[in-house]
Amino acid sequence: MLKVEGLVCRYGKVAAVRELSIDVRAGELVTLIGANGAGKTTTLKAISGVLPAASGRITFQGEDITRASARRILQLGIAHCPEGRRVFPYMTVRENLEMGCYLRSDADQVAADMRRLFERFPILYERRDQAAGTLSGGEQQMLAISRALMSSPKLVLFDEPSLGLAPNLVERTFEIIKEIRSQGVTVVMVEQNAFAALELSDRSYVLEQGRVTLTGTGAELLDNPHVKSAYLGA
């Protein structure tokens, strides 16, 4: 479904991603794990089109999206739930969700989707007219996830969804992501919490210094001695 081949991304002269290749099949939950600066966030930004790729090729459902605009990529069905939640702090919860479906013109379906999300997350409904910046971290994360879903995507990129959340909320967030996958949406997730990420995912890629150094199913990687010592602290 999503294929990244030989991706190179630079910030000025510094390459953050060097010759990275990943492959995601429809319906999978794939995670990218690795230390800070391994190139995980950069990879997601290149896929969603907010950061230009220096070279390499990204295809989604057979279409080359390497040079496509963020708008086009969203239209094709890739939503990006960015690191640090990034809700629009001075807009209301409802307006944030409306920004999520900025490109959609099917008003009836949008209204139905919003109703469904409000049913799923009653707290967002309660706070629908409140500025998003006044929400707690966990609520903002739910809003960020809901906003990404409002575009009715085929694939969602999650960047560090557990960052800065209390442990019980981390658990909850992962439950939500599993639920999204079970509804047929493909998920690519970047996560620092390697143990949780590996447990959750069908397959995983280990990134080091902008390259994929290991790949396998979650269970395989959990048993891998290198992963154990480097990421699981065992």
Partner: protein, 336 residues
């Protein structure tokens, strides 16, 4: 460095144009005859005088708010320090002159046409200059905008000469007298239209899809792009809207005062004062800031010295920067 540059350019140009160097808004104290009297203290007269000053300030504040909102929108969303703002103001006035006095178009038809031309000129500046400067640092952008300011002003001088022009207004010459205070019909019209434009701008920003996209871009540009917002189009729309508001202020005040090429300089400085006062990027701040500046100028000119009218804005900037550098209504820095 920013301050030095702008005052020097302003100073140079003021020197070159002594005939019109005077403050543009000094004429605005309408029906000011009353305040010259009162040799001995007279409570009734003082109250009437205060009321007149307040009415004048309210009316002046409407156009100040228009100028300020336009500038703060552009700064807030695009992070561009728009030195051409005052030129859009004078452009609006000249457009009005052109339609009414040269082409003979009806005054009330000419006004929307002049505003529309301002919108188009703003869009052109954004498209031709600013779009090429995306990602350039703020100093470069400022220099280009200062260049555009000088170029626009000189084009005006070339096209219309340096002689001040006046625009005939269709309003009766005798003022509207309301008990102890009076106001000219033309200024009342200016005030009403300014309020209508402010209300329309608020509605656009808060109620429309374009407005939502503008606010999203202001709050988090990258995330707005992730939502499918075309940042380039939002920038063009923002600059065109801000320019249209400046042109509207010029088109409204042109018939009240006279029109001359350097009239935008002081308007520009006042717009900056309003924006700093209200907090950079805050639209309510610019609205209220416009009225605060108008009240300060009007009361300062009335009770301190009319010669210091235009200094009031700068006094205000100094006080604000000392006491609350973020302005009165600036939104807190983004978190997360």
């Amino acid at each position: 460095m920013r301050g030095e540059g702008s005052t020097e350019v302003g100073g140079l140009r003021r020197g070159a144009q002594p005939a019109y160097a005077g403050p543009i808004f000094t004429h605005l104290r309408c029906a000011g005859g009353r305040e010259n009297a009162a040799p001995s203290f007279d409570l009734k007269r003082s109250v009437e005088q205060l009321l007149q000053h307040c009415l004048n300030a309210l009316i002046l504040g409407g156009t100040y708010a228009l100028l300020g909102i336009g500038l703060t929108l552009i700064f807030g969303i695009m992070r561009v320090v728009n030195f051409t703002h005052g030129e859009l103001y004078s452009f609006g006035a000249y457009a009005m002159y052109m339609w009414v006095m040269v082409s003979g178009v009806n005054f009330f038809v000419a006004l929307p046409l002049a505003i529309l031309l301002g919108v188009l000129l703003g869009a052109a500046i954004e498209f031709l200059l600013l779009r090429r400067l995306r990602g350039a640092d703020i100093d470069t952008t400022m220099l280009v905008m200062i260049g555009a300011w000088i170029a626009l002003q000189n084009i005006e001088q070339l096209s219309w000469s340096g002689v001040a022009k006046s625009i005939d207004s269709p309003f009766p010459a005798s003022p509207l007298v309301l008990g102890p205070v009076s106001v000219s019909w033309n200024r009342l019209f200016v005030f009403v239209v300014a309020l209508a434009l402010i209300a329309a701008t608020y509605a656009l920003i808060n109620r429309t899809k374009l407005g939502k996209a503008m606010r999203a871009t202001f709050q988090d540009r990258e995330t707005a792009a992730l939502m499918g917002v075309q940042i380039n189009s939002i920038y063009t729309a923002t600059f065109a809207l801000g320019s249209g508001l400046a042109a509207a202020a010029g088109a409204l005040l042109g018939p009240v005062f006279v029109v001359y090429p350097t009239m935008g300089d002081l308007a520009s400085l006042k717009a900056f004062a309003i924006v700093i006062l209200g907090g950079l990027g805050s639209i309510p701040g610019a609205t209220i800031g416009g009225f605060i500046l108008a009240f300060m100028e009007e009361l300062g000119a009335g009770y301190v010295s009319s010669g210091y009218r235009d200094a009031m804005g700068f006094l205000l900037i100094i006080i604000i920067l000392l006491v609350k550098p973020t302005g009165l209504f600036a939104q807190k820095e983004r978190i997360g």
